[in-house]
Symmetry: C2
Subunit: 493 residues, 2 copies
């Protein structure tokens, strides 16, 4: 029965159901009693902790410090930047009262009508407004700039259709908010953080991404320019994995944040903001995992190695325990995280399928024969291959293997994307090919009208105008008007 | 002017104002535009990160894993445990709507009356209810126990009178929530986590604490027993610094969480919860700092060492830079965090007072004479003493010095507490002495009536019934009735 419970819908059968099965059965997350809000379970949260630690180190290496701003935003703050309020007002949680009282007509509690707030508070959907209201007091002179701050926080957007990790009413994220003396410096910062996100996605998540600029209609509400990294999932859909915004002076003007430059002149401050969220866990799952379960890149796996003993009796188990203790120590000395599972209430077969489901990159199994031969069986999660290896130098062998797996997972995803990316020159062909689950590089005339037409007719959107690659001009596949370069179209999460 | 801006009210003049000045001027936190919510500034947040990292390690070493539960709690959940709702309903933020819309009568946005929630959501003041509602699905058998989970989160309690760090409407904390098969095991867990908190307070915060049990009237809403650590601040008041609750089967019964034991019998699950918050930063400040600014224990200082060059010209600065680079490297190799401040827009005197204000444990200064003599000036923040030390072996010298400072700060706080703790046997003497700012060990008859009388007449409360120390019985100082042991009375934050 345990086995059956773990069986996943296959990807080819129903990709969405496969994802949901996997999230539930690998103990990553589940829906809560509160509509649209998820519970992130310990194993899912352990992946988030790995991501957080690495990103946090990268933010600090690039000169940022963490701080914390209030969960609540006064309603009037949202209205101060016109595009911003347009983008967020329609899906936000509103606090109107600050007290409950006993229901005079029965059991339970009701909202106390006498405890109504003078001004309603919004649970932050993002923090530009409360932060720029604060920055007004922090910034007077060019000497106070740049201000490079990041926040790890929960945010709420009242999405109507939610999906674990990918789109939830509450999610966890980081939001960087920086202030600069010049336009150039702010633009450089926005680009720099895009590079940090791309590096994180590729080197840690083993997930290739396309760096680009969003079209006007896909920009963050209040931004001048939105940079994005876009990744391909195994169904050929795109997943926006991180965005970095050049905000110009929009928020500085909305909240009156000025500084005095070296020459004594006053000007508004230039801004950026950038964020990634628990959505990345959804991306990680959908980029690499298979019909047997999760496939985790070693750099983000809660356990990189699991060791399972196979024994006939307690004497043999004792001998294996002793042998394994040495291996565990030598692996830990190399900074490898390892779990030895010698619990005797589960059979080795059950454990094998459990750790396969959980995506542990390397599984070692040791039995009586291995004891005699001083060997261990090494199984790779990414390729599902096994081999028998000498215990001599096993620590370095595993270290190299983990590197190989990290590289292989990346390469597999990159090959998949390459095989599912095509150039198309006519709208007829586009409408046909987009149904295959591909990224399409096509020419576009740069107008919102054409973009909207394509979206309504095909459900594909412009994921980004790529920063790198082919920049040859051409003609829009729909209107025939001039196009600066091909852009990336795809259906998206 | 910079100097003047930094001057603090002295502790003897106005202790509360000294605290507020220090929090503001050392850039730890400030009030936000949202009533009762604070902005934790980068330097303050860096202290919190140090605390978090250490506590998190200690939780994991004791077998706990992190997870994340929703920010919102359905209103009906709160009512399920009678004492719990009584404790939290009167001070909570209530979400009633999920959308704003443009005001048809003018500019700005208003709450959309059509977007009213069917059931109101409470912003979590603590998460027992939502978590135990979740545990119902996670726990079926004794094999699912114990369940040892912690969450790092923000919580909201609508306090009417707030104070930076000590009492804010929103604060950051961790909350552990564990489930067990037996009463004994749950009680042991609650005591174990109290020990973890005490160890953290004493070894990392350098703050001696009294471990004890709360009287019935001071118990957590829904607990059978509340364990606490209580620390003395420099005004002789007590600050409750961490609590660990044995919840019995109260929440399991409220949310119908049962398990099947080894014999196949069903029973309700036993629970604990335990938490510490950003309040600890307030405790850290008030336990050690002085009229010159913060005094941080080395184990929690964002920078343990700062180095300031004193130079006549750029040539000399260049020589100092080279010399200091070697010192910085050797300190970092020993795991010591160090900042070299050779910015030339600030004078050494300004820097000295700045780092004094910020509580950096050790300051090194290097000038021309030091270059000639291969020495450096070493200043301790805790004692404000200076000495000239050879650069030979400076790394180990500093490492030992940091240890000495950690020990000395603890000892100073302990000596202060010892000097301000007295035994009292009559209520007359009690009423007089409690005004001096002391902890009083006195006999109490164990009733809420006597406790309440003392509180209303003197503003002192029973901080705890100590777990350790003198357990000699006696007679209640107020009623003359029998008392099991002396308990700790104090005025408290």
């Amino acid at each position: 029965m345990a086995k059956e419970l773990k069986e996943l819908t296959s990807r080819s059968q129903d990709y969405s159901q496969w994802f949901l099965d996997l999230v539930m059965k690998a103990d990553l997350a589940e829906n809560s009693a509160v509509r649209g809000c998820m519970v992130i379970k310990p194993y899912g949260y352990a992946i988030w902790e790995k991501m957080q630690r690495q990103l946090d180190d990268m933010f600090k290496e690039t000169g940022h410090m963490n701080a914390y701003f209030p969960l609540f935003i006064p309603k009037s703050f949202l209205s101060k930047e016109a595009d911003h309020v347009e983008g967020f007002a329609k899906e936000c949680a509103v606090v109107t009262h600050y007290r409950l009282k006993n229901d005079p007509n029965g059991s339970g509690v009701i909202v106390d009508p006498e405890a109504k707030l003078e001004e309603e508070l919004i649970v932050r959907p993002t923090s530009e407004t409360i932060i720029w209201n604060t920055y007004r007091n922090w910034i007077q002179s060019y000497r106070d700039l740049p201000l490079l701050i990041n926040q790890w926080a929960n945010v709420v957007r009242w999405e109507m259709r939610t999906r674990l990790f990918l789109r939830t009413a509450e999610f966890l994220w980081q939001e960087g908010h920086t202030a600069h003396a010049t336009k150039d410096e702010a633009e450089t910062e926005a680009r720099k953080m895009l590079e940090v996100y791309a590096q994180f996605a590729e080197e840690y998540m083993a997930m290739p991404v396309i760096k680009g600029v969003k079209s006007a209609s896909e920009r963050f509400a209040g931004a001048i320019e939105t940079y994005t990294i876009e990744a391909m999932m195994q169904d050929g859909k795109a997943l926006q994995s991180g965005t970095s915004h050049f905000l110009g002076q929009n928020f500085a003007k909305a909240f009156d944040v000025k500084f005095t430059d070296k020459e004594g002149k006053q000007d508004f401050v230039w801004a950026t903001s950038w964020g990634v969220s628990t959505r990345l866990i959804g991306a990680l799952i959908m980029a690499h995992s298979d019909d047997n379960g999760l496939v985790l890149p070693p750099k983000l796996a809660p356990y990189q190695v699991v060791i399972v003993p196979i024994y006939k009796n307690t004497d043999q188990l004792q001998q294996i325990n002793e042998k394994v203790a040495g291996i565990v120590k030598s692996l830990k000395d190399l900074g490898i995280s390892v779990r030895y599972d010698n619990a005797d209430n589960k059979k080795p077969g059950w454990k094998f399928s459990e750790y396969e489901l959980k995506g542990v990159p390397v599984r070692l199994a040791m039995g009586g024969r291995d004891l005699e031969n001083n060997t261990v069986e090494v199984a790779r999660r990414d390729t599902l291959t096994k081999e028998t290896v000498s215990c001599e130098g096993i620590d370095l062998y595993i270290k190299n293997l983990l590197n190989d797996i990290q590289v292989n997972i990346y390469k597999k995803a990159l090959d998949f994307r390459t095989a599912h990316t095509i150039e198309v020159d006519t709208y007829e062909e586009f409408k046909q090919k987009i149904e295959d689950g591909v990224f399409i590089l096509a020419h576009w005339d740069g107008t919102s009208e054409t973009e909207e037409k394509i979206k309504s007719e095909t459900k594909a959107t412009i994921r980004c105008i790529p920063l790198e690659g082919d920049k040859t001009p051409g003609k829009c596949m729909v209107t025939g008007k001039p196009s600066n370069q091909r852009v990336v179209f795809a259906k998206a999460y």
